[in-house]
């Protein structure tokens, strides 16, 4: 009798264990299913431009003429690819030094209240939704640029400025984490040698944490590259390669945002938009690859 009772008790927690494990495996399998189906569906749609139509990959990637509704349509997406890369790089150039300063302020200059002050600021900046950034860009940055600089205000410069504020929190938090996890004795030995704070920062701290800081920048660029609505609101959406920073341009995301609702599924124009989504997806893989590469360097 007692033995039987014991057996049934073992069975009960075995069953619990089994159910828990099954449930968790289901969750993990779901994650894998999502990503596989995402890659499959977006890729199969994106490739159809090249398989069914008479657009070649190089025409699409390097052609500069975008007129999908013309009698002899041409689908050169180069202006949008160039626009995406341009605003992303500019945003990273503006945001990186600022973020690095914020991170240094939090960890090296006034570690106590500096962190207390900047941590919530960074969190709030990260929390402001992208459409609100677009709205502010449209009602503050664009008029400012229009009144003080050549051009209409909308354009590459406005897009880059909006994006740089959006990616500030990403870069800052990654950089601050890296700086905070630096072994204390590295800094102490530098100070012991009589180095000033700036010498310590520039010759010891930044070189050691460089891969981690780069990781933050790449993550920020990934965010900037994929951001759709905020950029679409301020960049002007002209299908040309911009000749100056104050000219309007387009990004891959802004063209998809505007075009996807107005084209019918399966048309050549629609398929070209899917090909752009495929380019976006492939760029995500590239960014993740770089992040992994940098993280591996960081470990050594």
């Amino acid at each position: 009798m007692r033995v039987k009772l014991k057996n049934s008790r073992i069975e009960k927690h075995h069953i619990e264990d089994f159910v828990g494990r099954t449930y968790m495996s289901f969750c993990v399998l779901l994650l894998i299913t999502i990503i596989v189906s995402m890659v499959y569906f977006v890729a199969s749609k994106g490739i159809s431009t090249f398989t069914s139509g008479d657009v070649s990959v190089s025409d699409f990637l390097f052609g500069t003429k975008w007129s999908p509704e013309a009698d002899t349509p041409s689908f050169g997406a180069f202006p949008f690819i160039a626009g995406s890369f341009l605003v992303t790089l500019l945003a990273a150039l503006i945001a990186s030094p600022l973020s690095l300063c914020a991170a240094l302020f939090m960890t090296e200059i006034v570690p106590g209240w500096g962190k207390k002050l900047l941590q919530p600021v960074i969190e709030l900046l990260a929390g402001i939704p992208s459409v609100v950034y677009g709205f502010i860009g449209l009602s503050v940055i664009v008029p400012f640029l229009r009144n003080n600089l050549p051009g209409q205000g909308i354009g590459v410069a406005a897009g880059a400025l909006v994006l740089s504020v959006m990616i500030l929190p990403t870069i800052t938090s990654v950089a601050a984490d890296a700086l905070a996890s630096l072994p204390q004795n590295l800094k102490e030995s530098s100070y012991a040698l009589g180095a000033t704070r700036w010498q310590t920062i520039s010759r010891v701290i930044i070189p050691t944490t460089f891969p981690a800081i780069m990781t933050g920048i790449v993550l920020g660029m990934a965010r900037a590259f994929g951001e759709a609505l905020a950029v679409q609101m301020v960049i002007g959406n002209a299908p040309f390669v911009p000749k100056s920073l104050f000219e309007s341009a387009s990004t891959l995301t802004s063209v998809i945002t505007l075009g996807m609702g107005n084209t019918t599924m399966g048309s050549a124009h629609n398929n070209a938009l899917w090909s752009m989504a495929l380019v976006l997806m492939l760029m995500t893989f590239v960014f993740v690859f770089f992040v992994r590469l940098l993280e591996r360097r960081n470990k050594i």
Binding site: E16, I32, V42, V121, L125, P129, G261, M281
Partner: protein, 298 residues
Amino acid sequence: MKPRTVNKIATSLIVFFAMLIVAILVGLLGYILFRGISHISWDFLFSAPQKIRAGGGIGPQLFNSIFLLVLTLIITVPLGLGAGIYMAEYARPGKITSFIRLIVEVLSSFPSIVVGLFGLLLIVNYFNLGFSLISGALALTVFNLPLMVRITEQAFRSVPKQQKEAGFALGLSKWKIVTSVLFPVALPTIITGTILSAGRVFGEAAALMFTAGMSSPRLDFTNWNPLSPNSPLNPFRPAETLAVHIWKVNSEGIAPDAAQIAAGASAVLVIMVLIFNLAARYFGRFIYRKLTASKRMN
């Protein structure tokens, strides 16, 4: 130049730029709230939008945003918990585990517009759910799930190892340890993270434009039958959220007071995000205090 002078210049530059960021945030929040709050009234919060005339509100959009958030959390929280616990407690280091980790990383860095397009293709068209709340919630699930997995994994990993070992020493099964030893300790972190991720989902627009749609039917707030087409609770109706509404008003709004509506709606959105932030802090601390206080034996 003397190193000391360089040091002083560099330090003041760093302080200047750090303060500039604080100034940017204060300026942004001040601008949004200053411009928007004067436009917020009960009427604005609860009335339906107008297409051509002035005086439209954001009632249905606000309701849609909150309802969509609730639907999304109902789907993502249990799934994210499961996968997160697996990653933290069960996964052995190896090829499969690092593959899953890669998936979570890739999934969380996909641009939200790509997630929206995927939703359009698979959920809206292929599964034929149409532009609806449920399509939006499923797209947001793709968006939110990797976040939840990460939050759960980090929360479980930050539990002291001794607690787990104490459980093993008592002869508990692994599942029992996870559910009744580790989970309560990890809970405050999970709740804080979930509320913060809710703030992000609340402001999301690009993924919803192509899944939840860009229009709202006339809602009858006295009709609570979830199957009727103009009931607010019907998950199969199209739903424009607040963030999508701001985008639409800014880029194609033709009402004469479109700018004010955008300002008011932005202020509401930002205030909601602020509330999520404060709630995350408060709840996390509150639950942590409760858990630790009840354990203080001496």
